[in-house]
């Protein structure tokens, strides 16, 4: 599996507000056997997640998702195998009970003993995958790298993102968006750049989870496009009614249907192409019954195409039941690209320079520009650069 398969999801006409274009995705039938719920966390949202291998992941985590594959809600399976409420769930009652938020999250994806549901932190799973890219640092002890880099790797590794409500116009666009019947997802464009894709298995889940998009994280690129971008035009319908074109109401209706089909094709081929046609590196995080939870990384190619990281739940045929993506900004792509190339050449700077078709000094400059300058041993690098210049 290398691609995202959105079979079963149909595109509906986009809704535009300012610079934000939202394309709804509709399922004819919900995915059977999987439901998604939201688990709210109290407090400011700052959370530290214990990843297990003595590393921690710290971020703004306003909520988690719970994937439930018991098949509850399917009707027939109501008696057997339905999960009861998890420990700590508040049943009914008025208002939230007063309590001190306990904020120690264990693992990004966790299944409690004996339950057929998995709690995971949306987007953070994917972001952790990106942050952990060659996290171990240089694999060979070249003297260009500092002792800290050799000992601790890239730790601590940090990336900045904007919350949805900080992206100008996004909150308003999501608020006034009119959900389609059967809608199970959306593609979010800011200044006509694909900012995020979000797909869930069931329309009822989507209705509940739609507002969570404003609490999600969006890259620097999305924020800048929203901030500086102008209004995007609506693709308004246009019916060709030249000579002999339309004679009856049936013709008119056929022309209107044709308009809708044309939009769906144009969208998939033009606007979402980079998301759907890139081949990703998938990493399985969890297997739950017929469903698999993956996170994926793009190829980090510098060919000007958009690159997304994200997470995906697929059914046994590989079709997406859940999808959430994060658009990387140019700088993040460059950083990923550089790390990949360095790792390919076992972190040897000169070999990497050759590989990239450039000079030693340029590779050093790129590493510094990517914010990884602290990993280099400044003395060795300065000496080697001088030698190169003299030689």
């Amino acid at each position: 599996m290398t691609r995202i398969d959105l079979t079963g999801l149909d595109v509906r006409p986009a809704q535009v507000w300012g610079g934000v274009r939202i394309v709804p995705l509709v399922r004819a039938e919900p995915v059977a056997g999987l439901r998604l719920r939201r688990e709210l966390y109290e407090g400011s949202g700052l959370a530290t997640v214990d990843l297990g291998d003595r590393t921690t992941y710290t971020s703004y985590v306003p909520h988690g998702f719970v994937a439930d594959w018991t098949g509850a809600g399917a009707g027939a399976g109501a008696e057997q195998g339905v999960e009861s409420a998890a420990y700590g769930t508040v049943l009914g009652g008025e208002g939230a009970p007063p309590c001190v938020p306990v904020r120690r999250v264990h693992r990004l994806a966790k299944r409690r003993q004996g339950e057929r549901r998995l709690r995971f932190l949306p987007l953070h799973l994917a972001l952790d995958g990106y942050l952990a890219l060659h996290f171990g640092g240089p694999s060979v002890v070249w003297d260009d790298w500092s002792r800290k880099a050799l000992g601790q790797g890239l730790s601590p590794r940090a990336e900045a993102a904007y919350a949805g409500w900080a992206v100008p116009g996004l909150g308003e666009a999501l608020r006034i968006f009119e959900l389609h019947p059967g809608q199970c997802g959306l593609l979010l464009y800011v200044a006509d750049a694909l900012a995020a894709a979000f797909v869930v298995p069931h329309p009822d889940d989507y209705r509940v989870l739609h507002p969570t998009l404003v609490e999600d994280l969006y890259g620097e690129l999305v924020h800048q496009y929203a901030y500086y971008g102008a209004q995007v035009p609506e693709f308004t319908a246009r019916i060709r009614d030249g000579v002999g074109g339309i004679r009856t109401l049936a013709d008119l209706r056929a022309a209107a249907r044709q308009e809708e089909r044309a939009w769906a094709e144009a969208h998939d081929g033009l606007m979402a192409r980079d998301l759907l046609e890139t081949s990703y590196a998938f990493e399985r995080v969890y297997r739950m019954g017929d469903f698999d939870l993956f996170r994926f990384l793009p190829p980090f190619l510098r060919d000007g195409r958009e690159q997304h990281i994200g997470e995906l739940i697929t059914d046994h045929k590989g079709r997406a039941a859940y999808l959430k993506t994060f658009r990387l900004s140019e700088k993040q792509i460059r950083k990923g690209h550089l790390l990949r190339r360095l790792a390919d050449r076992d972190w040897h700077l000169e070999a990497t320079a050759e590989d990239l078709g450039t000079t030693y000094a340029e590779v050093v400059r790129r590493i510094e520009a990517a914010g990884l300058g602290g990993l280099l041993d400044a003395h060795v690098v300065a000496r080697r650069t001088r030698e190169k210049e003299e030689g």
Binding site: P13, E178, T236, A237, L249, A255
Partner: protein, 465 residues
């Protein structure tokens, strides 16, 4: 050309004055609405002053009526000769008589804040106060408003007792007037509460710690119609105005709507028949496209207003159409008007196609004009229909829009070939359809002026008689 522009400006203003209330809408904030409305008022006041005053004779909403009166009184020097001023004065007096008193007192207070105290203003305020049916009730119910108004125009209270009640409350031990005395006694006697108007008694009830249920039960006969509707204890729904009733129905939970289906439907039908009046059954075959998309949920301050207007129009059109010749088409595809809810996108284009297929004499579209599934299809369908399929205009299409678009300074249109009119209360539908005929961009200013003059004459005659 300039004539057409002028006619367009005037229609734009009428649409704004009918729909806009300066409150938050689904897609724009209160500030944006307010700002936009202020501009439109100023623009029309400066450029078309006689028309601006004449708008008072149309079915514009209370907010705009008060705003127009205030603007007219603030700028007497722009009015032109004394003849024009007198005409304005007549219109203002006639409109103030129709406005709810709390609106008028608020208007007087804003005039006071603005420092407007010319002779005309004083005369108008005094005349309005003199015409109030029960000065004692006003003194109790609108005490600060009445006080401010009297102070501002140096007016005399209706009688000595009222004067003392307002300006020297300690002077008398008891009042001869029952209402004034009830107010005095209500301070220490619970029984006196129930002789006071509802809004005043509410405060006393809280002070005497009367349980809310008991209080509502006993005060019910003193409530106004809308207060009864608001506290959900209306005895007779059939006397309520149509749009208010529709709002009330939409505020009920689904289960209750199903339970009281017969009663609610009957009340809505009765209100619609009353609103239709002599036109009932005279519109031939009618198809209505009614918007119940998510955007018809309005805003926190105008909860479900667009949907209520659509629901009201549904029943009114049913009454106006020939018996059995009415087809309602909700955008969501639903068929039960009582169970509508604001949900889903707005596929207006496809619904209009469905409407046209029934071969109607009239198509009425009630929508906020944000056609989004797919966008712009409604406009295209209507254009092609007009140019290719129905060039002889056998079918008349009209679009009624309950939402003022702050950015466009007008209600949102679907297509240039389709007349669009703003609508606030479903009851005004027939009159609005008449105005909308001017909005096709083919009538000049002269015709529109003649129409306005006719309306003004009618309005003043009604007010006088």
């Amino acid at each position: 050309m300039s004539e057409l522009v002028a006619a367009e400006d005037v229609l734009l203003f009428v649409n704004a004055a009918v729909t806009a209330t300066g409150q938050r809408e689904f897609r724009s904030s209160a500030a944006a609405q307010h700002f936009s409305l202020r501009f439109v008022h100023e623009y029309v006041r400066v450029n078309y002053r006689p028309v601006y005053a004449a708008a008072l004779a149309l079915d514009i909403n209370h907010h705009n009526a008060a705003l127009i009166v205030e603007q007219l009184l603030r700028t007497p020097h722009e009015a032109g000769g004394s003849e024009a001023k007198r005409a304005e004065g007549r219109l203002i007096a006639a409109r103030l008589a129709l406005l709810p008193p709390q609106r008028v007192y608020r208007l007087f207070r804003s005039l006071r804040a603005a420092g407007v105290n010319n002779r005309r203003t004083r005369a108008i305020v005094r005349a309005w106060l003199a015409a109030r049916p029960d000065p004692a009730l006003d003194a109790v119910k609108y005490r600060p408003g009445l006080k401010a108004a009297l102070r501002h125009v140096h007016g005399r209270p209706a009688d000595d007792e009222t004067g003392d009640f307002l300006f020297a409350p300690g002077r008398r031990v008891r009042y001869g007037n029952a209402t004034l005395d009830a107010y005095r006694r209500a301070h220490y006697e619970q029984g006196a509460l129930y002789e006071l108007p509802f809004t005043v008694a509410e405060g006393f009830a809280a002070r005497h710690k009367v349980p809310r249920a008991v209080f509502l039960e006993r005060i019910a006969p003193r409530m106004t119609r809308l207060e009864q509707l608001r506290t959900a204890r209306a005895a007779d729904l059939t006397v309520m105005p149509l749009t208010r009733l529709a709002l009330y129905v939409l505020s009920l939970p689904f289960a209750e709507r199903v339970e009281r289906r017969a009663e609610l439907t009957h009340a809505l039908r009765a209100a619609a028949r009353r609103a239709a009046g002599p036109y009932a059954g005279s519109w031939g075959r009618v198809a209505a496209v009614l918007d119940d998309s998510f955007s018809s949920s309005g805003s926190a301050v105008k909860r479900r207003r667009p949907l209520a207007v659509a629901l009201g129009c549904h029943f009114l059109l049913e009454a106006l159409a020939a018996p059995g010749a009415y087809t309602p088409l909700w955008t969501s595809g639903g068929s039960d008007p009582l169970l509508v809810r604001p949900y889903g996108p707005t596929p207006l284009g496809l619904r209009i196609l469905d409407a046209l297929e029934t071969g109607p004499d009239r198509v009425v579209i009630v929508s906020d004009g944000w056609d989004n599934a797919p966008p712009g299809l409604a406009g295209e369908v209507l254009r092609v229909w007009r140019t290719r399929l129905d060039a002889e205009r056998r079918t008349s299409v009209v679009h009624l829009n309950p939402v003022y678009d702050a950015e466009g300074f007008d209600v949102r249109r679907l297509a240039p070939s389709v007349p669009t009119a703003g609508i606030r209360d479903a009851e005004d539908l027939a009159a609005l359809v008449e105005i909308a005929q001017f909005a096709e961009g083919r009538t000049g200013f002269a015709e529109l002026g003649a129409y306005l003059d006719r309306r003004v004459e009618l309005f003043l005659k009604e007010a006088g008689g």
